[in-house]
Symmetry: none
Subunit: 202 residues, 4 copies
DNA sequence: AATGAATGAGTATTCATTCAT
DNA sequence: CATGAATGAATACTCATTCAT
């Protein structure tokens, strides 16, 4: 009450609010989350929230961007840096990355995108440009590298990098809908990657 | 104006209303759909809607059931009837069935389930019992038949029939989020099935 | 269902509906009673009810009149017929009559009048003319007879026949509000009458 | 128009709203009063009303409590303080108190209790504990004091303190139903008290 | 005469947003 | 900057009443 936590500076405020909002959206979804709850969670008044975010929608978009951008940067950085063979990269860093997704904030973002996409076309645009097309592009590049150095044969998989994502999406959706009815997510993804590699190996 | 204000059509009403509701939910989701809109779409007054469905939630559940039940019945009937080898069945009727899903009402149901699951646990239960577990059970049976008559080797796929569904889910989610940014859904599913068969063939 | 009960004749219908309405009003009050419930209770369709009573209000008024009229007639007849001395009459038939009121339909009518009076001035007029003023007039007459033949002294009671009714009203209101928290109604009324007689005896 | 649309007055609001609500309930009863009307009367928006009272029912209960509590406190205080003989007390402060009731807010509360009792059992409980049983208890005590110091004889009145209230209730009900058809309330109550005293004097 | 399907005005309640302080 | 009191548009649901059959 009396003491501000962490000697708060005004620069942190938007970030703090966005985090609170993310947590709230993760729990209840966008529509069901009340602006007041977000403010309370952030330890801030409603008025102040509106000082930084013009509307609830603005807040939503900011939150999505805030979560998504660093994550995609991480992915592309990983891909760029790698010195491994394509297969070794897929079995190593990529597999690790994919297996992490279902339990990560990314899964929350996907849930939010699925629920809200129809009402937020500009958010979809943003997501497309900054996440989907970049991610798929990176995957495509990886596959092409594999073909170029004789590891992989040409195949339809080259044009459908979504195939890599499919079991991740399956796991995420399963988690959203069936929460408690457990599915061995790791095994699903591993088997899937194994299968792809068997299929495209030269 | 042109039409009579009063139109007795007791038998058809529930069905008509449910169809209008399905269309509305498909467009805007459950929460964003106003009961009044559903009524208008059905060419009916709000009051009449409430005569047949006690609450908006009841209506929702009825709609889901109405879409889901016949579809699942179709699936299990298809599986039961078949005289084909497991692989022939997968490449034939099953592939056809899977390829149809992304453009079908099923995809709407899945979107609704994803958005509303957290608020409708009983609906999830219903969906689990009548769709998910039955569908997965049928797939598992099919794979076991393949193993039994020497077509398939024992493998992880047997325990993860979700792998069959993954590209369908991917396609559906893609369609929800990216609507217009086309994805060759058929090819995705075909390639995926091809890949699975190559993987599990004895 | 198939057989009409009691070989119903159309002449009885309004009466039957009114009785059903009275029962419903007694249970839930006027506002809380749905026209549909009345119709169901009467074993009749809503449409037919509206054939006999133009509005719910009409029905209400008819019901009040139907209950009230015969009861008042009984009272005035009792008073007119009597050959007894005033005190004997009071201790006998009148006391009996008063003690019966709290458990009788009259008490329902009073509850309804209290709740609905502000919205039904014409009903109040009817009630005043046919019940209150006639009843009070009869009581006044009785008291005057007692004075005339030397039983009672002149006193304020003559001008306030409401004093006779007071404990009855008290009992009725108590019953409405406290239903289960019992009050010995009979004793209350007896004591009260005893007290009055002691007070006015010459 | 003239007044500012915004008027911060946190402390007073609940009180102001409760008063407006009391006035509205007094005029039209609970059910017939629209929340919007209460808000308008209080010069406040619907939303603000709901900030202070969670539901219309809550508001109702708060109003009843607000009116009832001070009045009962006044009564019990009066009784406790008195140094008078029982009869002097009855003819003095008690008579004054009783004569005031029919024109006071208490009468509104009683009307509301009569109309709403069946739907608000918890309100009845509250009323019983805080008004009825306390009031009757005080009266009983007073009568016992009179008996103890030889002023009064033992009589049924001791167990039926409701007898004191009867003409007050009669007056209140008369006022509710017949509003304009005047009744000399004061005289009714005075005569009644006179009568009781004559009856129980030792 | 009799039915009950159909209507739609009416009402409690919620919540994003504003603005006096 | 910061607050949270205040606003009011939006929405699910009810029920007296009508009218095609």
């Amino acid at each position: 009450m009396g003491r501000p936590r962490y000697q708060r500076r005004k620069e942190d405020r938007p970030q703090e609010i966005a985090e609170a909002a993310f947590a709230a959206f993760a729990e209840k979804g966008f529509t069901a989350t009340k602006v007041e709850d977000v403010a309370r969670r952030a330890g801030v008044s409603k008025g102040l929230l509106y000082l930084y975010f013009k509307t609830k929608e603005e807040l939503f978009k900011a939150v999505i961007r805030g979560v998504v951008t660093p994550r995609v940067d991480e992915l592309t950085r990983t891909l760029d840096d790698s010195e491994l063979s394509a297969e070794a990269f897929i079995r190593g860093p990529l597999l690790t990355f994919l297996k992490r997704l279902p339990g990560s904030p990314a899964s929350v973002v996907i849930r939010l995108m699925i629920s809200e996409a129809p009402k937020h076309p500009d958010l979809v645009d943003y997501y497309w440009e900054n996440v989907a097309s970049r991610g798929l592009g990176a995957l495509r590049q990886l596959l092409e590298r594999g073909v170029a150095n004789g590891e992989f044969r040409e195949s339809a998989v080259n044009e459908l990098p979504q195939l890599f994502i499919a079991p991740v999406m399956m796991s995420i959706v399963w988690g959203i809908v069936f929460a408690d009815r457990s599915l061995d997510t790791d095994k699903l993804i591993e088997t899937h990657v194994d299968m792809i590699l068997a299929y495209i190996r030269a």
